[in-house]
Subunit: 226 residues, 2 copies
């Protein structure tokens, strides 16, 4: 996943249309004509009968971009096409922190402080959280990380996690997500890449593990406990 | 935006295909045939030449869902179609916290602790953050909130913000995003819905403002300072 994060900056477009069936099919038809590679797509706003579809496109050079925008604007359903900075440029890589409120809060204090230091030097690292309890809900949140755009690492912050959550951890590691765990009871620590006892330290290490500039190689840390 | 968050649970599908041009156009053609309303779309994974496209669809009843999935599976490009819990169900509404690392961390401590209490009672509220400095970058992050899926509120956490950031605040408020600001220098506090001096309190109030269960009406709080 980090590979796709590091590709060149894509062409980012916001296309406003009526909120009606067939819009996405019509818009993607134009993109296909221009052989643009869709790397991100979102339906950003839907209100007052209008819908804004947001695309990030690769393999579109400067001149080709003008032609593509012109062809989108020629569609009868299209009201406005605007260029925007890409989410990758604005929010960058995402670390997701999931678990009990008390511990999630402390992991984020560490992660945000460390991300601040990296972002000041030109990186973009975001830290996203949800406080959750329950094996089923934690497993669903863990599995969903693999399909969250720009997510590269998950921190599981709690006092007891195992069973289905541990299986979900192994699944998303297969898909390239780095998983850190607090030192806790249950089988999640054994399933994670790295176990850290102090939540602030765990947040800091999560950022170091995904940063382009830190000399902290998760491959060398795998299986360790701090 | 909160309106769309409260709609009925959609049909969520993950569709694995080769990573090649025209995939999204072909898939949306099938969805159009079934008159399914696309409320969310993402390209979730792109590796080993394969791509997973994630859709959330409305207006698809139980039986119709089976027919739709069958028609997707019949496309030559489709490898696997899996049903998944929707992001709305897993991560719910999002509050975004942007600004200086020290203050973002403290706002999140308050917001996560308060979200924990709501989520235990069945809501789903996420708190997402990025530490950032600089007027241009803060303005871009602020404007981008209006096109982040499921985002309902923004907290600006810093000691000095104004100019282009304040203009961006007014723009996203027009689009239905609730904006809270710490009590800081610059013109951002005057542009925000609500100003709170203590960062932990500001995080707590942001969650209360977007919660379905709290009796805290942002319309009655507008323009206040705590």
């Amino acid at each position: 996943m980090s590979e796709s994060v590091e590709r060149s900056v894509p062409l980012a477009l916001m296309v406003q249309t009526p909120d009606e069936p067939g819009v996405l099919h019509a818009l993607t038809g134009v993109l296909l004509d221009h052989e643009a590679n869709i790397t991100h797509v979102d339906i950003a706003e839907r209100c007052d009968g209008l819908s804004t579809v947001y695309f990030e496109l690769e393999d579109v050079s400067g001149d080709a971009a003008d032609g593509l925008v012109g062809d989108l604007e020629s569609l009868p359903i299209v009201r406005v096409v605007e260029r925007a900075p890409s989410f990758r440029k604005v929010y960058g890589k995402r670390i997701i922190v999931v678990g009990g409120g008390a511990q999630v809060g402390q992991v984020v204090v560490g992660a945000v402080a460390e991300a601040d230091r990296h972002n000041i030097r030109g990186e973009k690292i975001s830290v996203d959280t949800i406080p959750l309890v329950g094996e089923e809900e934690l497993a669903a949140a863990t599995r969903a990380v693999a399909r969250l755009p720009r997510a590269v690492a998950l921190v599981l912050a709690g006092a007891l996690m195992g069973g289905e959550v541990a299986r979900a951890v192994l699944e998303i590691r297969e898909k390239g997500i780095i998983v850190l765990s607090l030192n806790m009871s249950g089988t999640v620590p054994a399933a994670a890449d790295l176990v850290v006892s102090d939540p602030v330290q765990c947040g800091v290490m999560a950022v170091m593990a995904v940063s382009d500039s830190a000399s902290f190689d998760i491959a060398r840390q795998r299986g360790r406990r701090y």
